[in-house]
């Protein structure tokens, strides 16, 4: 029963974290078509930052905890490929999110507030944010594949 509860929490947290991440690109892409004063973009970036700081990243941290607890409760060894690889990839994704994506987003907001949405640095940061989002997406898809196919 404890394992089932942990698995339910794990799946729920994964849906929220990854679903939120997937929404960022869409929200920001739609804001690009907003007014030239950048108000929609400002709203979009602040909203994405809030979603990232207060929902997605805490969910990733809890995913690590529930995932580790599931391995412990079920008695699975850490030597199984799908367990240690998915754990490694999750840590990598979490590190990219914290060390690269979040600071890029923060800087994007700063540049937008001071220089507007057509500033070259803002455009460069937008591209970097999009690329990092793409990398995170690929990592997350790989983790889901490992969880489903369970290679030993």
């Amino acid at each position: 029963m404890l394992f089932t509860i942990l698995k339910f929490l794990h799946v729920w947290l994964a849906i929220i974290a990854v679903g939120y991440n997937a929404a960022y690109g869409m929200i920001i892409a739609r804001a690009r078509a907003g007014g030239i004063d950048g108000r929609e973009m400002r709203f979009a970036l602040h909203t994405v930052k809030f979603m990232d700081d207060y929902v997605a990243n805490p969910c990733y941290a809890l995913l690590l905890i529930t995932g580790g607890a599931m391995v412990y409760v079920s008695g699975y060894p850490w030597t199984l490929k799908w367990i240690y690889l998915s754990l490694g990839l999750l840590i990598l994704a979490f590190a990219i999110a914290i060390v690269l994506y979040s600071p890029t987003l923060r800087r994007q907001i700063e540049v937008l507030e001071t220089s507007g949405p057509s500033d070259p640095e803002f455009l460069k940061l937008s591209k970097r944010g999009g690329a990092l989002g793409g990398i995170l997406g690929v990592i997350v898809i790989a983790i889901v594949a490992l969880m489903v196919f369970k290679p030993v």
């Binding site: 679903g19 997937a22 929404a23 804001a31 929609e40 709203f43 909203t47 889901v144």
Partner: protein, 151 residues
């Protein structure tokens, strides 16, 4: 292999569809607190409308893949976790398509013609939040059924 590939697709579609829908409340509530001229709210309603279109496509594919999984896995429709989750899904999907979708369009129309302080707009916003929470609760039960698999 085919079963696992379908399961993988099923999970990815669920993450996209449910994950997108889970963002709507937060996006709209932040937009409601933005400037009083409703420009952010208009952007938020349009964005949520677009995202819900993608989520609905994912939900339809989710059903198709889910039925494929039942057939391929050799399951019958008798276990509670299968027929229960299918039934609950139909309820949640109907709420989304037939009630929340039209409410979203109506809210956008009122916002553009009468602004965000219009009483009908406020009433519809409350109704939308309540129904969204209900659909979210149904989704939680579906996920529990999928994980716990009660017979």
């Amino acid at each position: 292999m085919l079963y696992n590939t379908l399961k993988f697709l099923h999970i990815l579609l669920a993450i996209l569809a449910v994950g997108f829908v889970m963002t709507f409340g937060l996006i709209l509530s932040r937009a409601e607190k933005a400037d009083t001229d409703g420009r952010e709210l208009k952007f938020a309603l349009q964005t949520v409308g677009f995202m819900s279109m993608i989520a609905n496509i994912c939900f339809v594919l989710l059903v198709i893949v889910g039925v494929g999984l039942v057939q391929l896995g050799g399951f019958t429709w008798a276990p509670m976790w299968i027929h229960g989750s299918a039934g609950l899904f139909l309820i949640a999907f109907s709420i989304g398509i037939f009630i929340l979708g039209p409410i979203g369009k109506r809210r956008l129309a009122i916002l553009q013609s009468r602004g965000p302080s219009d009483p009908e707009f406020i009433k519809l916003s409350k109704r939308s939040a309540m129904l969204g929470a209900l659909a979210g609760l149904i989704t939680l039960v579906i996920i529990w059924l999928m994980v716990a698999k009660p017979v």
